[in-house]
C-alpha cells in the first residue's frame, strides 16, 4: 500500500496521492506507471471522510441516472465542478464527493470511510468520470465501443447496448486478430494519426492501442450489409455513442470539432451483421480502398 500512485491511461499521466494509504482495483494495476517524470495531466488528491457540504445552494447542472438508480450528480460552483457519486451496490448511499477545478486538471476526492472507495478512490463510477474529463480537456473522446487490430488496421465497432459490440470483437478475435477492448475506448489525435486506446476495466488487461482506420456503427441484421456515411450524419451518429455530459456548450463544441475533423479522415460505415464468422471477410471485402 502506498500514498502516491502514477497511472497512464491513453498516454495521459494521472497521479493519485493521499495522506493515507490508497490502492487501485485490479483492472487499473497494469496501467500503473513507474515513470514519475514529466507533467501530470491530472492529479487526484484523495481523502478519507466526506466533508459536510451544502449542495442546496449550488447549481445542479447534470444528473446521470436511470429508472433504477443514480450514478452521479454534477453541480457548478465558482471554482469548478462538484460531484456527488453514488454507491452502485446500495444505490442511494453517497460513495464519494469530488471537486474538479476549472482547468479540469486537479481533483479532490472525498470517500465515505465505510465504502470500498476509501481504499479504491477510482471505484466505479468515478474512474470513468475522471477519464471522461481528461478527454474533454485534451482534444480526444471516450466512446462506448469495441476495437480490434488485425495487424494492419484498427477498427472500432460502436452501437447501442445489445447491438453486438462484444460479439463482433470476439468474431475478429476468433479469426486471429487482437481485441484492444470490447467496451470503452479513448480516441486521441497523435501527430497525423487517430489512435484508439483501451481503458481500465473490471478485469485485468494490459494497456493496448492501435492506429484507427475505420469506425463501424453496428446493428444485428439478417444479412451482412454496410454503407459508408459522411458529413453531419456521420459526425452525429458517432457522437451519439461518445461519453459526454451535455450541460456545457464549450465541452460539446470541443467534441463536435474533434469528431468533425475525425470523420474527414476516418471512414464511417453503418454495418448490419449476421453474428457469425462471415462478417469478418465481408468487411475486408467491402471496405473502401481509402482506408490506409
Amino acid at each position: 500500500m502506498q500514498n502516491s500512485i502514477h497511472i497512464k491511461i491513453a498516454d495521459f499521466s494521472i497521479k493519485l496521492y493521499s495522506e493515507t494509504s490508497i490502492e487501485l482495483e485490479e483492472g487499473y494495476l497494469p496501467f500503473v506507471s513507474e515513470d514519475e517524470k514529466g507533467v501530470d495531466d491530472v492529479t487526484i488528491h484523495c481523502f478519507s471522510g466526506i466533508p459536510a457540504i451544502d449542495f442546496q445552494k449550488a447549481e445542479l447542472v447534470f444528473e446521470a441516472k436511470n429508472e433504477i438508480q443514480k450514478f452521479y450528480s454534477i453541480f457548478r460552483s465558482d471554482t469548478g465542478l462538484g460531484f456527488i457519486i453514488y454507491n452502485q451496490q446500495t444505490k442511494d448511499e453517497v460513495q464519494q464527493i469530488a471537486f474538479l477545478d476549472e482547468t479540469f486538471s486537479q481533483w479532490e476526492v472525498y470517500s465515505n470511510p465505510s465504502s470500498e472507495s476509501s481504499r479504491w478512490p477510482l471505484k466505479y463510477p468515478l474512474g470513468p468520470i475522471v477519464m471522461h474529463y481528461l478527454t474533454v480537456k485534451s482534444n480526444s473522446v471516450m466512446i462506448h465501443a469495441s476495437c480490434v487490430f488485425d495487424g494492419k488496421k484498427g477498427r472500432i465497432f460502436t452501437g447501442f447496448s445489445g447491438n453486438g459490440k462484444s460479439t463482433i470483437s470476439k468474431l475478429w478475435a476468433d479469426a486471429g486478430n487482437r481485441i484492444i477492448n470490447d467496451d470503452r475506448i479513448i480516441i486521441r489525435k497523435i501527430e497525423d494519426n487517430y489512435v484508439a486506446f483501451n481503458t481500465p476495466m473490471y478485469y485485468i488487461d494490459k494497456p493496448k492501442s492501435t492506429v484507427l482506420n475505420a469506425i463501424f456503427l453496428i446493428s444485428h441484421s439478417p444479412e451482412n450489409k454496410m454503407k459508408k456515411i459522411s458529413g453531419a450524419l456521420a459526425v452525429s451518429k458517432v457522437m451519439a455513442f461518445c461519453i459526454q455530459n451535455n450541460f456545457e456548450p464549450k465541452l460539446i463544441q470541443n467534441h463536435l470539432d474533434f469528431l468533425s475533423e475525425l470523420s474527414m479522415h476516418i471512414p464511417v460505415y453503418e454495418l448490419g451483421f449476421v453474428p457469425d464468422a462471415s462478417v469478418v471477410n465481408f468487411i475486408l471485402a467491402n471496405e473502401s480502398g481509402r482506408i490506409k
Binding site: 436511470n66 453531419a232 452525429s236 463544441q253 463536435l256
Partner: protein
C-alpha cells in the same frame, strides 16, 4: 408554432456546421437525453441561421425563394418541414 418560440429554442443547442449541413446538440442536464442529436440539410441550416428574434414567416419564405431560387409554395413547404422537425425537439 411561432418563430419567436423557435428563436428562444436556439440557445438550448450547440451547433456545428459540417459542409452544407448542420448538427444540433441539445444542452441537457440528463444523461438519458445525451444521444438525441439532430442534423439539418442545407435548407434547414439556412433557416436556422436566419432565425432572428424579429424574424417573421414571410421573411424566411422570401429569403428562401431568393437564395435557393425556388417558388413560394416550395419555400412554404420547406419551412413547414423545418418547423415540424423542431417541434419534435420540444
Amino acid at each position: 408554432m411561432d418563430l419567436q418560440k423557435l428563436y428562444a429554442l436556439k440557445s438550448k443547442f450547440v451547433v456545428r456546421t459540417v459542409g452544407n449541413e448542420l448538427i444540433l446538440v441539445p444542452l441537457t442536464g440528463n444523461v438519458a437525453q445525451m444521444n438525441e442529436l439532430f442534423t439539418m440539410n442545407e435548407t434547414g441550416k439556412f433557416i436556422w441561421e436566419n432565425l432572428g428574434e424579429m424574424t417573421t414567416i414571410e421573411n424566411i419564405e422570401n429569403s428562401l425563394t431568393a437564395t435557393f431560387e425556388i417558388d413560394a409554395d416550395t419555400a412554404k413547404k420547406d419551412l413547414k418541414i423545418f418547423i415540424n422537425k423542431l417541434e419534435t425537439l420540444l
